[in-house]
C-alpha cells in the first residue's frame, strides 16, 4: 500500500457519489467548452477574412446592388491585381427549411479563393456548362446529390424555378472554411435577371490587391471614385467585412458568456459542495491520521489528490469529449455550426476552471482539517 492506495480507497468510499460528481463536472465542462468554442469560432470568422481582398459593396448596405459597369474601372485602378464579383441568389431547394447559401460568381471570383478546392476535371466541366454549379462537399452529403444531377432552385429574388446541373464538388482548403454553399455562373444569373428587368448589377465586388499594405489606400480611392455617383460604394478588407457581419448578431456573445459563467458557477457550487461534504464526513478519520503522525501538509496532499482525481477525470470527460466531437469527428450540429474546433485558449480556460474547482473544493476541508484540534475531534467521535 502507498498513499495513493488511501486516495483510491477514499474515492471508492461512495462510488455513486464519485461517479456522479465526475459525470456532473464532465457535463458542465463540456457545456462550457461547447459554448466558448461556438463563440470563439464565431469571432474567428473575422480572422478567416483575407487582408489582400477588398470587398466592395453598396454604401447603403449589402442588400443594395452595384452597377456591373464598375468592373472595368475597378480593374484599372492602381494596385488592383484582379476583380471578381458575386451576387446572392437566395434560391430555395424544395422547402425554405432546407436553407443553404447559393451565389452567382464570375470565374475571377472563384480564382481568388484557393480555399475552394475543385479538381481540374470538375472545374473544366463546370466552365463548359452554362447552367453548371459547384457544390460544397457537405451540401452534397446533406441532400445526397450526385455530380451530373440537375437541381431546381425556387427563386425568392428572381421569381420562378431555375435549374442547375452539378458539375463539380469543392472541399475546403482550410479548416473552418464553409463547405455548404452552391456556386454558379454569374452569366446564367444575368440571363435570368434580364428576363425580369433586373440585370446589369452585381451584389458585390472582390478586389485582390498586390500589396496588403496598400489595401486601406485603395479602399479609400475606390470610395472616393464613386462618392457622388448614384451608387456610392463602401470598400473594406474582407476581414473588416466579416467582422461587421459578426457584429450584426449584437450581444449574443455577451449572453453566451453570461450563460457560460452561470454554468461555471453552478458546477463550482455543486461539485465543491460535494467534495467538501466528503471531506467533512471524515473529520474523525483525519483526526486519527493526525494522531498517527500525519502532518497538516500530509492531510492536505491527500485531500488535494482526491479533488485532483475527480476534477481531472471530469476534465478528461468534458474537454476530451468536446475535442473528440468537434476537432476529431467534425461535428457541426447538423450543418448549423460548421467548422467548430476547440481552440487551445478555450481548452486552457477549461483547465483553469478545473483548477479553480479543485482548489475551492480542497481548500475548505483542508483548512478545516488543519484547524481541527485532534483532541476535540476525537472526543466528538467517542
Amino acid at each position: 500500500m502507498t498513499r495513493a492506495t488511501l486516495v483510491r480507497a477514499n474515492l471508492g468510499r461512495h462510488k455513486r457519489r464519485t461517479i456522479l460528481t465526475v459525470l456532473g463536472l464532465g457535463i458542465a465542462l463540456f457545456l462550457f467548452v461547447t459554448l466558448q468554442t461556438f463563440l470563439h469560432t464565431l469571432r474567428s470568422i473575422g480572422d478567416i477574412g483575407s487582408e489582400t481582398h477588398l470587398v466592395v459593396t453598396n454604401k447603403l448596405g449589402i442588400v443594395f446592388p452595384l452597377p456591373m459597369a464598375y468592373r472595368a474601372r475597378l480593374q484599372a485602378m492602381e494596385g488592383v491585381e484582379s476583380v471578381g464579383y458575386a451576387s446572392w441568389f437566395g434560391g430555395i431547394y424544395q422547402d425554405p427549411s432546407n436553407f443553404f447559401a447559393n451565389f452567382a460568381v464570375d470565374p475571377e471570383y472563384l480564382a481568388m479563393y484557393p480555399e475552394i478546392v475543385v479538381s481540374p476535371e470538375h472545374r473544366e466541366a463546370f466552365m463548359a456548362d452554362r447552367t453548371g454549379a459547384i457544390v460544397g462537399v457537405r451540401l452534397m452529403e446533406r441532400f445526397g446529390w450526385q455530380v451530373g444531377q440537375t437541381v431546381t432552385l425556387q427563386g425568392t429574388i428572381y421569381p420562378g424555378n431555375h435549374d442547375f446541373t452539378i458539375r463539380g464538388v469543392y472541399s475546403a482548403g482550410r479548416k473552418g472554411f464553409d463547405e455548404t454553399s452552391l456556386f454558379f455562373h454569374h452569366r446564367y444569373l444575368e440571363e435570368i435577371a434580364r428576363n425580369q428587368g433586373m440585370d446589369g448589377v452585381v451584389g458585390w465586388y472582390v478586389l485582390k490587391v498586390t500589396d496588403p499594405n496598400q489595401a486601406a489606400a485603395i479602399a479609400q480611392a475606390v470610395d472616393e471614385a464613386y462618392e457622388n455617383s448614384a451608387s456610392p460604394t463602401r470598400a473594406q478588407t474582407e476581414k473588416a467585412f466579416n467582422l461587421s457581419f459578426i457584429g450584426m448578431y449584437g450581444n449574443i456573445g455577451f449572453f453566451l458568456n453570461a450563460i457560460g459563467m452561470a454554468v461555471v458557477f453552478a458546477i463550482l457550487m455543486v461539485s465543491a459542495n460535494t467534495m467538501a461534504m466528503s471531506a467533512r464526513e471524515r473529520f474523525s478519520e483525519i483526526a486519527v491520521l493526525k494522531t498517527l503522525g500525519f502532518t497538516d501538509g500530509d492531510v492536505l496532499r491527500i485531500v488535494v489528490a482526491e479533488a485532483a482525481w475527480i476534477v481531472g477525470l471530469g476534465l478528461a470527460l468534458g474537454l476530451g469529449g468536446a475535442v473528440l466531437l468537434f476537432n476529431v469527428m467534425d461535428f457541426d450540429m447538423g450543418g448549423f455550426a460548421p467548422g467548430l474546433s476547440v481552440s487551445p485558449g478555450v481548452a486552457l480556460g477549461a483547465f483553469g476552471i478545473g483548477l479553480l474547482i479543485a482548489t475551492a473544493s480542497a481548500a475548505i476541508p483542508a483548512m478545516q482539517a488543519a484547524r481541527l484540534k485532534v483532541t476535540d475531534a476525537l472526543r466528538y467521535v467517542a
Binding site: 461512495h14 455513486r16 457519489r17 456522479l20 460528481t21 459525470l23 456532473g24 463536472l25 457535463i27 458542465a28 463540456f30 457545456l31 459554448l35 454604401k59 447603403l60 448596405g61 449589402i62 442588400v63 443594395f64 437566395g90 430555395i92 425554405p96 436553407f99 425556387q154 427563386g155 425568392t156 429574388i157 421569381p159 420562378g160 457622388n228 448614384a230 456610392p232 463602401r234 461587421s244 457584429g247 450584426m248 448578431y249 449584437g250 450581444n251 449574443i252 449572453f255 453570461a258 450563460i259 452561470a262 454554468v263 458557477f265 453552478a266 458546477i267 457550487m269 455543486v270 461539485s271 465543491a272 459542495n273 460535494t274 461534504m277 464526513e281 448549423f336
Partner: protein, 387 residues
C-alpha cells in the same frame, strides 16, 4: 401513515450549508432556463404582436421576405382598388404600399447593423392604428423627414429628434419617435414611401398591405388575386407574415435554451443525488427510529422525496427571483430572415416562471428518487449499529 412535511423542512434547515449549496445549484439552472426562455419569448412576442389579423400583406410570388420582394407601382394600385379593401369615408383605400429596405448603420456600441427603413403611404396610420407618435410629430409626405421607432432610440446613432440620417445622396431629418405596442415596427424607421423610394431603389414597392372591409373576406381576396393574370402576388395575414419571419431565430433561441438547460440540469440532478445521499447517510439512525416507530418504507421514501423537492423548489424560487430583474432588458440582433435589426426585450412571463418551478420540481424528484429509495431500503440494524 405519512411523515409530516415539517420534519423535512426542519431537516433541511438543520444542514443549512449543504442544503443551500444544492439549492443554489438548482437556482442557477432555473435562472439560466428562465433567462434564455425569456429571451426567446421576448423575440417571438415582438414578432407575433406585429400586425392586425384583418390586415393582409401582399408580396411578390416566391419572395420569402420583404427584402427579396418587388411590386410595381401599377400592381400596387390594382391591389389598392380591389373591392375587398376597406375604404375611408373619403373613398381612399385603407392600405399602404411599402418600400422596405435595410441600411447599414452603426449601433451606439460601434457594431454595425441593418437598420430597417420603411416607406409608407399616408393612410398607414389608419391601417396600422397601433402606431402612435410619442414624441415630436409625424413626417410630412414629400419632405425628407422620417420618424423612428422607440426600439431604435438609445440603441442606434443619429436617431434623436432633429438628427440627420443620410440615405444614399439624401439627408433625412428625424422629426418624431413612435411606438407600436412592442411590435417589430418599433425597430424601424418610417418615412414617406415616394421620398424614400427616390433615395433607394427607385419606383418599386416591396409589399402592399390592405385592410379587409370584411374580416372574413380573406379567402375572397386571395381568390381574386389568383384569378388576376396580371398579379403575381402571394397574400398572408399580417400577423402570420411577421410570425413566419420569426421562425428561424425563435426556434434557434429556444433550441439553445433547451439544450443548455437540459445539459446543465443533468449536472444539477447529480449534485442533488449526492447531497440527498449524504443526508440519508447522516440520518441513518433517524431513519431507523422512524421505522421502529412504525413508519412504513413507503412513508420514509415519500418523506425523503418530499425533502428533495422542498430543496429544489426553494432553489427554483430563488432562480426565478434572480431572473426577475432581467425582465425588460433590451437587446437587438439582425434577424436574417427579414435582414433587419430587431430590438426586443427579455420577457419573463408567469408561464415561464411556472415552467421554471416545474423544472426545479422535476429535478428534485429525479435527484431525490435514488437516495429516497436507499433510505427506504435501509434496514433497521444499519442505522443502529454505528450511531
Amino acid at each position: 401513515m405519512k411523515i409530516p412535511l415539517i420534519y423535512n423542512i426542519r431537516s433541511v434547515l438543520h444542514r443549512p450549508t449543504t442544503s443551500l449549496a444544492t439549492a443554489l445549484g438548482i437556482a442557477f439552472v432555473v435562472l439560466t432556463f428562465v433567462g434564455m426562455l425569456a429571451l426567446a419569448n421576448g423575440f417571438r412576442s415582438a414578432m407575433i404582436s406585429t400586425g392586425r389579423p384583418d390586415n393582409v400583406m401582399l408580396l411578390r410570388q416566391g419572395a420569402d421576405s420583404e427584402i427579396s420582394s418587388g411590386i410595381s407601382r401599377e400592381h400596387a394600385s390594382i391591389v389598392r382598388s380591389l373591392p375587398e379593401v376597406a375604404k375611408l369615408s373619403d373613398g381612399r383605400p385603407i392600405a399602404s404600399a411599402d418600400a422596405y429596405v435595410v441600411v447599414a448603420k452603426p449601433r451606439l456600441d460601434g457594431s454595425e447593423t441593418h437598420m430597417p427603413v420603411r416607406g409608407v403611404s399616408p393612410e398607414v396610420f389608419e391601417l396600422r392604428d397601433e402606431v402612435r407618435i410619442i414624441e415630436g410629430r409625424s413626417f410630412e409626405p414629400g419632405r425628407a423627414e422620417v420618424i423612428v421607432g422607440r426600439g431604435l432610440v438609445g440603441r442606434m446613432a443619429d436617431v434623436e429628434i432633429g438628427a440627420t440620417i443620410r440615405f444614399g445622396q439624401q439627408d433625412f431629418t428625424v422629426v418624431g419617435h413612435f411606438e407600436a405596442d412592442g411590435s417589430v415596427f418599433e425597430s424601424e424607421v418610417w418615412g414617406d414611401a415616394e421620398t424614400l423610394m427616390a433615395a433607394f431603389r427607385g419606383p418599386v414597392f416591396q409589399s402592399v398591405t390592405v385592410r379587409l372591409a370584411d374580416p372574413e373576406a380573406f379567402d375572397a381576396l386571395v381568390a381574386r388575386i389568383e384569378a388576376d393574370p396580371r398579379l403575381q402576388l402571394q397574400a398572408k395575414r399580417e400577423p402570420d407574415f411577421f410570425a413566419g419571419q420569426a421562425q428561424f431565430l425563435g426556434t434557434m433561441l429556444e433550441f439553445i435554451a433547451f439544450f443548455v438547460t437540459i445539459v446543465m440540469s443533468i449536472g444539477a440532478v447529480f449534485g442533488a443525488i449526492n447531497t440527498m445521499d449524504a443526508m440519508v447517510a447522516a440520518r441513518a439512525r433517524e431513519i431507523s427510529v422512524l421505522q421502529t416507530l412504525g413508519f412504513q418504507r413507503r412513508s420514509v421514501m415519500a418523506s425523503f422525496l418530499a425533502e428533495a423537492v422542498v430543496i429544489a423548489l426553494a432553489g427554483g424560487a430563488l432562480g426565478c427571483l434572480l431572473a426577475l430583474p432581467i425582465n425588460g432588458i433590451q437587446t437587438s440582433t439582425v434577424n436574417w430572415q427579414s435582414f433587419g435589426e430587431v430590438t426586443f426585450a427579455f420577457r419573463v412571463s408567469p408561464k415561464i416562471l411556472l415552467q421554471g418551478m416545474i423544472f426545479a420540481g422535476i429535478m428534485g424528484l429525479v435527484g431525490g428518487f435514488l437516495p429516497a429509495r436507499r433510505a427506504a431500503k435501509q434496514g433497521l440494524a444499519a442505522g443502529m449499529r454505528r450511531g
